[in-house]
Symmetry: C2
Subunit: 145 residues, 2 copies
Amino acid sequence: MSHSPNAEALTQRLADSGLRATPQREVVYDVLLQKRDHPTADEVFARVKSEMPTISLATVYNCLETLVQCDLVRAVNFERGPTRYCPNLRPHAHFHDEKTGRTYDIELPPAILQTVNTVLPSGFDASSVEITFRGQASAKVANRE
Amino acid sequence: MSHSPNAEALTQRLADSGLRATPQREVVYDVLLQKRDHPTADEVFARVKSEMPTISLATVYNCLETLVQCDLVRAVNFERGPTRYCPNLRPHAHFHDEKTGRTYDIELPPAILQTVNTVLPSGFDASSVEITFRGQASAKVANRE
DNA sequence: AGTACGAATTAGAATAATTCTAAGAAGCCA
DNA sequence: TGGCTTCTTAGAATTATTCTAATTCGTACT
Ligand SMILES: [Mn+2]
Ligand SMILES: [Mn+2]
Ligand SMILES: [Zn+2]
Ligand SMILES: [Zn+2]
């Protein structure tokens, strides 16, 4: 059938949480995988509408939250800007380009994460760490996309 | 005369930016220094009102923004919660306790910051890094305050 | 196939934090 | 003191997100 290649993994993860793989959830997830530029909910909405013109913004928010809950997508925040969504599940930091507003994934070797955790005094038990860079990316990097 | 001990540094920093040291700015800054628990604007407003009952919330927001601009205070965000304010100017990470909602400062040795910066591929020029832990702090830590 | 019933979607209202607007008060200096 | 600029203030506006309540959908019996 006309399943996208990722529908299977999605269906599985949703089922694990007792949820259904609906067309809306599939198209939202596909959109995130197709252009991994950390879009906002509004941007996802715009992209999804071209494939499914009847979808509502509320549903996009619902689907995104569901995907985050199932650990298929990460929600990413910079200051008080709108939440952005990232389907990269590997441990990674984010680099926010102040000039362009673009967001880049920065892979994080496990050794670095371990090192970072050494700063925690005893009594602090961290379940997650988030590392965010802010600065400027060169044109070369921007074109690499 | 009845200057708080920090009024001097504040006045200097403000003057450096061509701004005045007003009573509102002084009391907002004092409140931040007196209880370094990363209060929100609303919390700052409540604390300031007891000293200066006529101050407005808009002014608290204005003062906080001014202090951030002058690099006397850091704005700290967790997910989409209200912005919190921190007068600790040393390089530090934040630990957000998921159970209590409390925020702790985690000192960051310069060596760690350098190590973290090594994850950036060439072409990425970071002007700042932010490290945020999420997890649980022990009762011992909570009492240490 | 038809019915029941929880899950999911939808449009629009509501909310929360923050920013904006416009008017007045205060500070500074000639 | 007058003139100019900065600062404060109340309230309106904005923005992103969540909530509400009504439909629609999907699945599981019968
Ligand atoms: Mn930006
Ligand atoms: Mn929390
Ligand atoms: Zn990412
Ligand atoms: Zn802090």
